[in-house]
Homo-oligomer: 282 residues x 2
Amino acid sequence: MTTTAGLARFSINQQTVKQLSLPELVAACGTLGITRAGLWREPVRQYGPEAAARLFRNAGVTVTSLCRGGFLTALDPVERRHALEDNRAAVDEAAAIGTDTLVLVSGGLPPGSRDLRGARERIADALAELGPYAGERGVRLAIEPLHPMFAADRCVVSTLAQALDLAERFPAGQVGVVVDTYHLWWDDQVPGQIARAGEGGRLAAFQLADWVTPLPEGALLGRGQLGDGAVDLRGFRELVEATGYDGPVEVEIFNAGLWARDGVEVLAETVERYVRHVLEPA
Amino acid sequence: MTTTAGLARFSINQQTVKQLSLPELVAACGTLGITRAGLWREPVRQYGPEAAARLFRNAGVTVTSLCRGGFLTALDPVERRHALEDNRAAVDEAAAIGTDTLVLVSGGLPPGSRDLRGARERIADALAELGPYAGERGVRLAIEPLHPMFAADRCVVSTLAQALDLAERFPAGQVGVVVDTYHLWWDDQVPGQIARAGEGGRLAAFQLADWVTPLPEGALLGRGQLGDGAVDLRGFRELVEATGYDGPVEVEIFNAGLWARDGVEVLAETVERYVRHVLEPA
């Protein structure tokens, strides 16, 4: 049975049910006993960050993260300056909405480039600039390693080890990492790297989605509902909790099939799957 | 300019130009000065392994590898027995066709399983059985790590490090590894792992394809022609050659667009791309 106690750490990332408007999402959270949510910049900006902050605060729903900053790998100086400006704006929006975590998708290779190492170094350069700005505003930058299938076009940071190699160059209060099961489930180095993240105080966010096949064209919208795929979600939760992490467990699924359904129904199903496949003993 | 000397180590994997029959492939190799080819089991079986061996031998084309054995992760005992039988048949076919390298695609998770570690151990169990059988027939089993996007449904061995962890449990003459740029290009651990493979005498095959986006549905047929994508092919060749490897460099591209074109034209283009993007200095 779903209890409010069991859901205390559950957070719904709004992309999972992006068919719901912010007020609809808040109402559904109230109905289902959900007290945390992760938000995305575009809908927050449309609604107005201050108004959104009030909406969630008045409903007793804590905003656990804002997605997303990043895309810090441009070679072109103008593009690069725009990216840094946009990331400062994202930090401001995170502070306005009342979350301490800004998720970063680092960016892929610039057109024509084959230099992964150079791209990763440009991310580090950008973090050196953005980290203090974020820290002063009570926001931590959370580097999200994305699945290696996104290395060319979205994120040259593909493993938790790489994310930590980057984060550890900066103060833990400024730069952390995201553990997302969808991106990391295949990697046998993950248990050791989660422990490393925990020891260093770098575990900024923990996100869940399942891995299902076949991948759709472009691969982006192929994430699976919890329990539908290959990921040992319970095992991931145990690894993360073994570090002492007691923060939000955020479900973030991009899936065209889920988006085509009634959002409240999908949210209720997600809660049920979370209890069954993540919380309860096997 | 393409010279025969420059092509001395070039090998064309027949899947790259699978629209060509075996005799057409041999003829095109003669025209273009190609002296090596990697073959697949199905067309070889259709033609007859002994007849295919004669065809290639008489044309002076060396068979550099046979694809593929593997799929060794089944839990069901009957499936498992069939897989082992099929792999012994693949070894026999490799010996008949006159190659010393049988490429293994290890297999994904069995339906409903989420146990990657268990699946990897079952591969090791199978190698313990198949390795001596192969070794006695002058054939080496070559574990191919596949891109992590195939971990669920095709191959739970996702990194070169994992492949070497497996291979090193067995004699180097029985079990080696494949370095395929398409599968490994994103991994910052690859330079060290290629060196490890070289030091241990485990480098059984070196295959090339480029990484292009967006991925097509199912991801399988999205490999790029050399030079069209994100992979530093020349850098890979240099890493592999730094170990002392002087064996074949096999181009293996699965791409529906290339298959729709004239096979000889695609083969000529592949040679040209190889010279430009792999052989020549940047």
